[in-house]
Amino acid sequence: MGGLLESGFELMMIGMGTVFSFLALLVVVTQSMSWVVLKFGLASDPHVANLRLGAADKLPSTSKQSAQHVAAIAVALDTHLRTPPL
């Protein structure tokens, strides 16, 4: 009985210690990460936006192609892009 209570008490100490240490470390790590991101301008909106540019956005755009062509290709691409890669 006493043994059970004792191991419970020990578990409580270790447990709260672990939870606190873990989350405190997470505070530090998170703050460092944010500092790096902000310091090196990695979070600048253009950059983030860039990060999200998909292949579709890199499609060729030549000045000569007519609006009609562009529309046609857009429709075709749109249909096509719905297919997730195999």
Binding site: L4, L11, G15, L23, T30
Partner: protein, 377 residues
Amino acid sequence: MDLLDQLWNGSGLAQMTFGQFAMILISLLLLYLAIAKKFEPLLLVTIGFGGLLSNIPGAEIATGNGLLHLIYEVGIETGAFPLIIFMGVGALTDFGPLLANPKTLLLGAAAQFGIFATLLGALGLSALGVMDFDLKQAAAIGIIGGADGPTAIFVAGKLAPELLGAIAIAAYSYMALVPIIQPPIMRALTTEKERGIVMVQLREVSTLEKIVFPLLLLLLVAFLLPSAAPLLGMFCFGNLMRECGVVERLAETTRTSLINVVTIFLGLGVGSKLGADSFLTAETLGILALGMVAFSIGTASGVLMAKLMNLFSANPINPLIGAAGVSAVPMAARVVNKVGLEANSQNFLLMHAMGPNVAGVIGSAVAAGLMIMITGG
């Protein structure tokens, strides 16, 4: 006539035990609370109905090859359903407020004191001979104080499946009762002036920070506490799908169809543990009582921690947001907002409370991993 006899013997009237009848009433009560009082309806409607089905005599829905028993074996005994729900919750969670103010993670840590105090309480009751819980059972009961349904179900399934029904009911009931349980404690531990503290507006958080955070969290888990990896891993996976911006169709399905389907089956599977034999015991009463203690201590610990942090903090922290550290997402954050508005009608604490609120999810998953590792789940 033989067939008429068979018909009568097969009827519920002939077979029903008093316990089953009582459990049907309890299940109906859960449904009433869920539907009329909005107590965690997503879970209490499904658990309550599962409880109804499980106590129909002779139907054998919750035993053998019955559907609810199969659901339990496939989804809960394996831990799959709570983990998938956690993935879905990850896909629904915005870590923005937490990233804007990472120190609120400590509030999520403090509130987990409810877990360990309750564990000690359960063992104390056993030491006194009032109850008879072993260490695993006490640990599973303590997790009720984490105020996260899937975490509680996951841990109970590993450490004390025989108590799963009672633990799930306690967890969701108290999560539903958060608007009643927490405010008095919050008011008792704070002054009107403290409750009126206006916090500085949170900064904008960049997409990159949001993408990196779940990976950082997972790496920390991997290096320090691998036993928390199943829960936090799936949580971080869901969150990464949400934030990374390149798998939006997967994230969308995860937080809608997938989490909905699994919620239905999780509820029915938990309900299968509401059979009269296993639920109507003294242990259940003990668990309900201990669960209430767990919530109260967790709330108090969070508030007190916030007051402590205020002594050292440059920017003032409204101690009410510590109460959100128990998790009970999103109800506890709403309660904080409400109590804050009572003290200062221009003081909207909701966003500030969301940081500790999701921190509480992380905190109780950490506690759960530890319990499973140490008590040998």
